[in-house]
Symmetry: C2
Subunit: 399 residues, 2 copies
Amino acid sequence: MLEDHPGGARVVRAYGYPGAVTFPVVGMVGGGQLARMTHEAGIPLGIRFKLLSDTPQDSAAQVVGDVVIGDYRDLATLRAFAQGCDVITFDHEHVPTEHLRALEADGIPVRPGPDALVHAQDKGVMRAKLDAIGVPCPRHRIVDDPADVERFATEGDGFPVVLKTVRGGYDGKGVWIVRSPAEAADAFRAGVPVLAEEKVDFVRELAANVVRSPHGQAVSYPVVESVQVDGVCDTVIAPAPGLSPELSAHAQQLALKIAKELGVVGHLAVELFETRDGRVLVNELAMRPHNSGHWTQDGAVTSQFANHVRAVLDLPLGDPRPRAPWTVMANVLGGDYPDMYSAYLHCMARDPQLKIHMYGKDVKPGRKVGHVNTYGDDLADVRERASHAAGYLRGTITE
Amino acid sequence: MLEDHPGGARVVRAYGYPGAVTFPVVGMVGGGQLARMTHEAGIPLGIRFKLLSDTPQDSAAQVVGDVVIGDYRDLATLRAFAQGCDVITFDHEHVPTEHLRALEADGIPVRPGPDALVHAQDKGVMRAKLDAIGVPCPRHRIVDDPADVERFATEGDGFPVVLKTVRGGYDGKGVWIVRSPAEAADAFRAGVPVLAEEKVDFVRELAANVVRSPHGQAVSYPVVESVQVDGVCDTVIAPAPGLSPELSAHAQQLALKIAKELGVVGHLAVELFETRDGRVLVNELAMRPHNSGHWTQDGAVTSQFANHVRAVLDLPLGDPRPRAPWTVMANVLGGDYPDMYSAYLHCMARDPQLKIHMYGKDVKPGRKVGHVNTYGDDLADVRERASHAAGYLRGTITE
């Protein structure tokens, strides 16, 4: 859905390139695949893209023209990087909040800003805010020690309980499912506050993705199903098959509400549990382009990456509607064969409609090194094509 | 249409990046917008893209990570550039044939190769070859001087006659329409051989675009109508409205035949005249991605740029079929206002489905600085949206 179109023009600082037109410079912190694909989406817009990357070998650093190598945890590095930028945005959520505030004090627009981003950085802050604005979450509270975990369990339906460090976790890291106080000990070792959550008896995982601009314009992508394997996203199906129109609209409205109430600018992914009794509960938030939105590159009128760029520049947002009845994204994980390129021959010859997106990363077993998108009218066929290609690239399918 | 799928694997030289996987390096000569958009299309494939560009300000040089600044007319520069590449391809057709032969002698695959490319470099060679393989062309011959132009005219229906220098022309440059021997004098001043052609009484201009791989696999895009204004492509409509299925298939088969007989590898654009008596005649050839194929970025399953990359790497080609009933491309020319970025607000808010492709070029009156694509079910609507956006960006429409 498309909401309220923005009003008048905003002034974007002129780009200082000799003789160049006044196209803005978008500075992205972090050289991962999200930055790589954001650069790809920014090229047609004619914007200037500048990258702060840890190493020249990083996924995005391989393909971007204007790269600064440096440590995003160092304020002086961030400040020097930001000098040439009209806006700063992010490939990841790890930049310290106080650094973001310093950049804002220097007059650099930071999007999403630190007041929004903290909700994606700290799960304790996120849960407290979602409670305050009436967004349904799993039962939760911060716990002090293993004994407190047992109290949390007995307050509800008992063990198992999910424990998460409030900062630093991703893709199953920093998350424990524990069945006793003894099993809870690991979660407290890092010295980071620990959030306890009920283990939701869910039917499946969904994601509601929205993009919001500083003007307050927002677009909502179709709600998707995210199939997880071993705590890592394996497949995304757009739209989520069999999802009732009411629950779909409810999930979209929750995501739009969260984006607005938290002041998000850019792409917001709201990961959801669909419960057996027909509700949705918020699992996680990500304030950047997200794996659950990769299908939009080939399956939507405007990709999450293009809309993220448009949002951080406060440009009118693009149409988020799907271009095909079904689009399926399958992640490509590293397997035992380091050479994925030779697998292109089989995959491309088998399916001339296949869309491959590789990240330029070295293959390591289990590492996300790319994804594929397929689309079409027949979900079973679309899903089989994505799954076959991802498996063949990984090396788990050899025929 | 899709033709014979390729057979077994070809060995591509391993990329020498420390610790990297064996993805190939595509070296592109020329830093214009075609290289810029080829890089964009290559990013998802995970290939390494290396650019030889005249200046760091060139369209592609702004967005590519691995750029060599140098003069493509200098063999030593070309040789040094080619050392790090698995294949060499082109943004333009101006690299001297003898340099391409030298690279081939060094063992570097050059795609398209010099024996094919010469037909896009030299209109005299092109016409002789098309005659030899029985492809219909306007009546033509090389002429020696203005008196010979008069003889050429009287051999046919008289003046006007079209004169073209056999090398160096593009977008109306190097082309004269003359009505007398006196008017013909200009064409001979450059000291380049001059080709005389009948001025075809055409209904409209078409383009048949195909992509061919070294294996001999080829795909053919729908035949498009190319609307020229003042000798420059203004609008491309895909597919060409009202074109008979027979003439469409004939044009596609001509393009496939030319690609095969000339040994083209990569994208081949065959510009055609549709005559009043229902024939097609070949106007020009281009052996690289082409303005008449820009619609494929948003309107086809696989873009001309992605298929060009796949072809020069001898990968199986992608599906060339359209994704919408109608796609329209409109070129954005420079106007009197240097700042096109502020026009984004109006264009994007008016049409959330609009696809803007800007080239990072300084605005100069009449210069191609970008294009827009629109697609949909209703040709009149799709065409109006493209035309409005292109006019608004140029500054000729202000409401």
